[in-house]
């Protein structure tokens, strides 16, 4: 019986394999294209890394040394000793990204839970209303937000970046998806045990939403860590600036920028992203694809 059901299956496979055999050149083609593309993607990053380790005098040397002969790790200290307060940029970015992420995790999980699991009049209409606002580009709202912050004397404070980012429509949408997948029986059982809505949320929904919270956390943290547009608008003094601003400063009109020092600074800025990516990449990729596709 088993043999019978198996036979046609393997026979089918055999046909496919045979039909692919004469197409062997396609494998060579696909591997060559993929390898070439991977090289093109990795080379600028490798250049950044090797330049960051080169002696300052060799920064512009051609042909570039793809592997430095003497590894100047002390270049990584140079940004901290430059004429801009690099360590402050780092801490500012960390603070803004951490507080923003924390705020969104709370506000988005609460709203996402309500839209997914609670019934109240106007729920679907309100949700549609939120979603529609995703079409509004940030450049339209930023002008009144700036004027508001100017009125409140909050320009050139971190609050001007953090406050507007404490909520996220995308985040609500993402968390709603995760809460929707949970089995209703769990919540019915909690109700029978006399749990209120707050307890159901805190003790049942949130612990089960770990992957969702982590996804939102990583996306938000990375977006804030990398954010430039609003920082450029709101933060004007050096001691308030974020890392992307600081590095642009290090390179740009300051021209203190020896490529080796600038690349070391960029390396330091990318390092947290790289670490998270290496630890959790398979899972980030899966989550991003899934949330993206359904978004």
């Amino acid at each position: 019986m088993i043999a019978q059901t198996k036979a046609p299956f393997t026979a089918g496979r055999e046909i496919i394999r045979q039909s692919r055999k004469p197409l062997k050149w396609q494998d060579i083609l696909s591997y060559s294209v993929l390898t070439l593309a991977a090289l093109l993607v990795l080379m600028p990053l490798l250049w950044m890394f090797s330049t960051s380790l080169r002696p300052l005098a060799d920064s512009y040397k051609l042909p570039p040394q793809w592997l430095p002969t003497d590894w100047r790790w002390e270049n990584y200290l140079a940004p901290f000793e430059s004429n801009v307060p690099f360590e402050l940029f780092f801490l500012n970015s960390l603070k803004i990204a951490a507080l923003t992420t924390l705020g969104q995790l709370i506000s988005c999980s609460m709203a996402g839970y309500a839209f997914a699991r609670l019934r109240f009049p106007g729920r679907d209409l309100l949700f549609m209303f939120l979603l529609a606002s995703l079409m509004v580009p940030g450049q339209v709202t930023i002008i009144p937000i700036y004027l508001m912050m100017a009125e409140l004397k909050l320009v050139n404070t971190h609050a001007s970046l953090i406050l507007p980012a404490l909520i996220s429509v995308f985040g609500v949408f993402l968390m709603r998806q995760f809460f929707k997948q949970m089995p209703q029986e769990l919540f019915d059982a909690a109700r029978v045990d006399g749990a209120g809505h707050l307890r159901s949320f805190v003790q049942i929904a949130v612990p089960l939403a770990g992957p969702g919270l982590a996804t939102l956390g990583i996306i938000t943290f990375n977006a804030t860590w990398n954010g430039y547009f609003t920082a450029l608008i709101f933060l004007t003094s050096w001691e308030k600036m974020t890392l992307p601003q600081g590095i642009a400063l290090l390179t740009g009109y300051m021209n203190s920028g020896n490529p080796s020092v600038v690349m070391a600074a960029v390396g330091l800025a990318i390092l947290p992203v790289l670490l998270v990516f290496l630890v959790a990449q398979r899972w980030i990729i899966e989550a991003l694809t899934r949330s993206g596709l359904k978004g």
């Binding site: 089918g12 496919i16 039909s19 696909s30 993929l34 593309a37 991977a38 993607v41 990795l42 600028p44 250049w47 950044m48 330049t51 570039p64 609460m110 709203a111 309500a114 609670l118 019934r119 109240f120 009049p121 309100l126 939120l130 606002s133 509004v136 580009p137 940030g138 450049q139 339209v140 709202t141 930023i142 002008i143 009144p144 937000i145 004027l147 508001m148 100017a150 507007p164 404490l166 909520i167 429509v169 809505h197 707050l198 860590w225 990398n226 430039y228 547009f229 992307p244 590095i247 642009a248 390179t251 690349m263 960029v266 800025a269 990318i270 992203v273 990449q281 990729i285 694809t289 899934r290």
Partner: protein, 294 residues
């Protein structure tokens, strides 16, 4: 004591309250306010004057605005085409039979640049693009290519921005397409092959139709993103040479935050909003004809 139904409704409203407070203050109010400001000659220090449609009639005669829209459209067209096209090509190749380890390596390599800030990428590429000391011209010289003025010539500067954008973003398209390809049931291909279909027919009749939701999603997302391009350009070329690579958002930024002409900047930002809305709606309407949802 509230009835269960009422307490559930109350809980619902309380749970969405933080989001809606933020939504009202930082999205809804600014949206309405920016429309109002666009009818004013707005001053942050002195008096503001209601100027009716002056800001909007200025739009029509503003040659710099026309230039920045032209640049943005050129950038959007090329960036979306190459990001989606190369992403699809890579995804199709990655979806072929190969060791899992290899596939994961390629996928990670293509994906990683997405996570890095545009600012940092532009800083790196600024050095690579240098005419005399840059690595790119150095290697091109072996192919007999004369040094290209990547950042100082209008057309090359635009090309430089597009290449860098594709380098960074095509991995996201690849990722979405690969997920779409992997969700196509193998039986479809097997059945078609038994019926004698060749690889090209399989691609045109099965892969593309079943991948159309992913393609549609990528086109919408990339187009909206490209129309708002800012970070990468401001660091790489600062809109130059001249206005050759200045985008609409950079123009809004300049008018609002460097010239403090908030009323006019608000009017320009509303044109961008309308363009984005129009592009999205048109795509949704057109998609009914070619996107197949299962």
């Amino acid at each position: 004591m509230l009835s269960p139904k009422r307490s559930e409704a109350l809980a619902g409203y309380l749970f969405i309250l933080p989001t809606f407070i933020g939504f009202a203050i930082f999205i809804l109010y600014p949206l309405v306010e920016s429309l109002r400001i666009s009818f004013y000659e707005y001053s942050i220090l002195g008096d503001s004057y209601y100027v009716e449609l002056d800001n909007y009639s200025r739009l029509i005669s503003d040659s710099r605005l026309r230039k920045t829209y032209g640049n943005t459209i050129v950038f959007t067209g090329f960036a979306v085409f190459f990001n989606a096209g190369i992403g699809l090509l890579l995804a199709v190749f990655l979806n072929r039979r190969m060791p899992v380890l290899m596939r994961n390596f390629y996928r990670s390599a293509f994906f990683f640049p997405i996570l890095i800030a545009h600012t940092y990428i532009a800083v790196i590429w600024q050095y690579l693009y240098q005419q005399d000391t840059g690595v790119i011209n150095y290697y091109l010289s072996f192919l007999g290519v004369d040094p290209i003025p990547w950042l100082s010539h209008p057309a090359w500067a635009m090309a430089a921005i597009i290449i860098m954008d594709v380098w960074k973003n095509t991995g996201f398209a690849m990722l979405v397409f690969l997920a779409g390809l992997q969700s196509i049931p193998h039986e479809y291909y097997e059945a078609a092959q038994l019926d004698g279909a060749n690889e090209r027919q399989l691609f045109a009749r099965i892969t593309i139709p079943l991948l159309s939701p992913s393609i549609f999603f990528i086109l919408v997302i990339f187009m909206i993103g490209a129309l708002q391009v800012f970070d990468s350009i401001i660091v790489l070329t600062d809109g130059g040479p001249g206005d050759a690579t200045r985008s609409v958002v950079m123009y809004i930024y300049q008018q609002a935050f460097q010239r403090l002409d908030f009323g006019y900047a608000a009017a320009v930002s509303w044109t961008l909003f309308l363009v984005i809305m129009a592009v999205t709606l048109v795509q949704f309407l057109v998609s009914r004809r070619w996107v197949h949802y299962e």
